[in-house]
Amino acid sequence: MSIVYFTKDHEWIAVSGDEGVVGITDHAQHALGDLVFVELPEPGRTVAQGGEIAVVESVKAASDVYSPVSGEVVAVNQAAADQPGLINEQPESGGWLYRLRLGNAAELAGLMDRAAYDAFVQGLE
């Protein structure tokens, strides 16, 4: 089982053991509209918490994805790169972006759980 955390920049990370899978939230994909292009990091790249790690683009917007926590990229979702629409259809499952080996698990404590994130999003509207 994994535990899912959320950021104020609308990323999610599902953590199990010392690894986490990262994607953008349903709210984020909805705000961007139909995604047409995704730029994913090279596996092996290390990233700091909050560092720019990927880009998602719709026709009219380009949005940086910030890594929820620090760590080293161990895998990317080629299916999402090939078919960005997958992120619109399954933002919080099949449309994940990259898998990361956590650099510092203590950083997770600063993230939101689902209930807190939902409240955060509601506050934006």
Partner: protein
């Protein structure tokens, strides 16, 4: 309605690509045969065909005529595209630009054989300097964004010449995207400054951001909300007090020509879009020109070339060693957009000092008329008076199911080019209308009646018709998502 057999709809005729009309052996020119020679290509002759289609002249004429009929221009419709200044393009300017003595001259002819051309550039520069009150000008920038780049280069060089390191540029959130992009191209970082509820720069916030690392403030005035920055003198004083320069984006200069000299506003540098304010044609997206006026402090850093005048006549300074200054180099091939200068100068001479002043008054009057007449049905973003453009947001469409985009597309069916949509970014669902001085009251009245009617239709549950719009155009809404997901950027021959 029964579809036509041909796919055409009366005057709207389907037109294939030139590549799909290839008639091998056909040709639209008659050239003399090349005399027989031993070639000097050093064995580097092209191998195999290029793949260009063969078309006779009548086929070519019909092709481009039909394509033109799928376009609208200022010649055919009211085109109130905010921040673009779509004014009438006089044909006199086209005629003069084609005089052989102006069109058929080479940039590197001996300068004694192009004295008229150099005088023309110098005269154009003189008009622009006099109108703005600025002492110097760089004529070579090719467009507005290129003028921004030119101005920021001079700032960067001037700061360095003072022995300082200033890397930050302050840019309002409402700025055109070119501002931060130009700043980045000059190696600056961009720091956004917020606006007040009155749609103007927040002076207190600006002052709080000033510091010894600020190279300049980039401010559009009148600003992108169509408002004059009424605290501009205080803004200029603040940026100068902090040792920075004041860059004015001249995209909206059409509002104030002949009524306000930018020198009197404390501006150090401003680009002028000749294709907006001075009526040279937009041509479907260029060519334009962005001459950039400079204060005495920045003038020594202006890029080359420059035209000078002495008792020998007119002369081009093309090299730093000849200039006696510290130019930032060269940012454009040759001597600038000469063909655009011809048109702009012809316009300025036609209008004169009196006419240019009347034009900005009329441009502002027309925009305020739209603002006044439409405020009851649309939602104006800020209180007037506005300058040359009127800004509305999408509050009037709230809960109607109609978006700004839908509203714009419905205007197309009504025979108008839409206003600028979703810019500036500081209001929600922006609709920015710039009528210019070359529209009649009658045109504005018909536009006002149409916009009012559409607003009421939207508020009365007519969303469905908006979603379908436009329907009377050569193409209906285009699928931009597919275009971006699987880019097809050129024709390729069908697989055989």
């Amino acid at each position: 309605m029964i579809p036509t057999l041909s796919g055409n709809q009366g005057l709207q005729i389907e037109e294939p690509l030139i590549f799909e009309q290839d008639s091998p052996g056909a040709c639209g020119v008659d050239l003399p045969d090349a005399p027989a020679i031993d070639d000097r290509l050093g064995g580097l002759a092209r191998q195999g065909p290029i793949g260009l289609p063969g078309l006779a002249e009548p086929t070519v004429v019909r092709h481009y005529t039909r394509l033109s009929q799928k376009n609208v221009g200022i010649d055919s419709v009211f085109y109130p595209l905010g921040s673009c200044t779509m004014k009438h393009n006089p044909r006199l300017n086209e005629k003069l630009a084609r005089l052989p003595g102006l069109a058929d001259i080479h940039p590197f002819q001996p300068q004694g054989t192009v004295q008229g051309a150099l005088e023309l550039m110098d005269t154009c520069a003189h008009w622009l300097k006099t109108l703005t009150g600025m002492p110097a000008i760089a004529m070579s920038p090719a467009a507005g964004a290129h003028g921004e780049f030119c101005g920021l280069m001079t700032i960067r060089a001037a700061v360095a010449a003072r022995g300082e390191t200033r890397t930050r540029i302050l840019v309002p959130e409402s700025a055109h995207g070119t501002n931060p992009a130009s700043a980045a191209a000059c190696g600056f970082t961009v720091d956004p400054i917020p606006a007040t509820a009155r749609g103007r720069v927040d002076l207190a916030a600006l002052k709080a951001k000033l510091g010894p690392d600020v190279a300049a403030l980039m401010l559009t005035n009148p600003n992108t909300c169509g408002l004059f920055e009424d605290e501009i003198l205080e803004i200029a004083e603040a940026i100068h007090g902090a040792g920075g320069y004041f860059y004015c984006d001249g995209a909206n200069y059409n509002a104030i020509v002949g009524r306000v000299r930018v020198a009197d506003l404390g501006v150090d540098v401003m680009h002028i879009n000749l294709h907006k304010t001075f009526s040279t044609p937009h041509g479907g997206g260029g060519p334009g020109a962005g001459p950039t006026v400079l204060s005495a402090a920045l003038a020594p850093f202006a890029p080359l070339p420059a035209v000078v005048h002495d008792d020998q006549g007119f002369r081009l300074i093309e090299h730093a060693a000849q200039s006696g200054a510290m130019p930032v180099g060269r940012i454009k091939g040759y001597h600038g957009q000469f063909g655009v200068f011809v048109r702009a100068l012809a316009y300025m001479m036609s209008m004169g000092a009196d006419g240019l002043r009347q034009a900005s008054s009329d441009a502002v009057l027309n925009a305020n008329y739209l603002l006044a007449e439409l405020s009851s049905d649309l939602s104006a973003s800020f209180e007037g008076p506005c300058m040359h453009e009127a800004l509305f947001d999408d509050r009037f469409l709230k809960d109607s199911g109609v978006s700004t985009l839908d509203f714009a597309k419905a205007l197309i069916d009504e025979g108008f080019h839409p206003m600028t949509m979703y810019f500036p970014l500081v209001v929600h669902g922006a609709l920015l209308m710039e009528p210019t001085e070359t529209e009649s009251k009658d045109t504005l009245d018909r536009f006002i009646a149409t916009v009012r009617g559409l607003a009421r239709r939207a508020q009365d549950g007519g969303a469905e018709s908006f979603k379908a719009a436009p329907v009377f155009t050569p193409r209906r809404r285009l699928d931009e998502t597919t275009a971006a997901r699987t880019p097809v950027l050129r024709w390729k021959p069908p697989a055989s």
